[in-house]
């Protein structure tokens, strides 16, 4: 059986983590393709309700990076 590939929602701050993620792309760093990012202007915008909602919709994990 294939290894389980979880689906993870990531809330990324536009100025920090999202930029870091872009830079990772620029540097062509390879990492697992499980993360689906949602861009927010700041991790402060991430209402815990979004996370709970995501789990209710069936994501396997969540990541908040500011």
């Amino acid at each position: 059986m294939d290894e389980f590939e979880p689906k993870i929602v990531a809330f990324l701050c536009n100025w920090c983590a999202y930029a870091g993620a872009d830079l990772a792309g620029v540097s062509r760093m390879q990492y697992p393709a499980n993360v689906r990012s949602v861009r927010v202007m700041c991790s402060g915008r991430v209402d815990p309700a979004f996370i709970v909602q995501a789990f209710r919709d069936g994501v396997d994990g969540a990541l908040v990076a500011g």
Binding site: A10, C16, R56, D57, D60, G61, A65
Partner: protein, 163 residues
């Protein structure tokens, strides 16, 4: 806070990762993603249907005033002090937060259980896996907030309904 809540729901707190990455830390970003992925992978797939009640309760908690207030005031209470001007120690506040979180979560669970048609304290306790005594105690709280009401006794069992 949300991590603790997730732990309470049973899906596991480590399904949520919170971290800080600056715009220049591309390497760190990849590490975090890798870590998060590995942690979730270890947890295995999430069967949402098993946790429907729990997650709905969690949603109530995070949208509820109590936790928002507590979290929102956290900084002020620890640095500037509470309404009486007493700065709280972080650990103490954390304890309060933890308690509040548990209480709010359990209350939400009970409320949702009753709302879904479960009526007696014992049944609620079974369904929510909370001790009967605790259920009774929290029910009183819920009654006070006018979220549930005591509708009467059926075969000597108190019956509640969600409002």
């Amino acid at each position: 806070m949300t991590q603790q809540l997730l732990e309470l729901t049973g899906i596991g707190g480590d399904r949520l990762h919170v971290d800080w990455v600056s715009s220049a830390e591309a390497k760190r970003f990849t590490e975090i993603v890798t870590e998060a992925t590995e942690a979730v992978r270890k947890r295995g797939p999430l069967d949402v249907s098993k946790y429907d009640l729990q997650l709905r309760a969690a949603e109530m908690v995070v949208k509820g005033e109590v936790m928002r207030w507590l979290v929102g005031k956290q900084h002020k209470i620890t640095s500037a002090g509470d309404v009486y001007g007493r700065p709280w120690k972080e650990e103490k506040l954390q304890q309060v937060l933890d308690d509040a979180l548990l209480r709010e979560y359990q209350k939400s669970l009970i409320y949702l259980a009753i709302k879904s048609g479960t009526t007696s304290v014992r049944q609620v306790a079974e369904q929510t896996e909370i001790e009967v005594l605790r259920v009774s105690y929290l029910l009183a709280d819920l009654e006070q907030k006018k979220l549930v009401e005591f509708t009467g006794m059926e075969e000597s069992i108190p019956v509640f309904a969600a409002l």
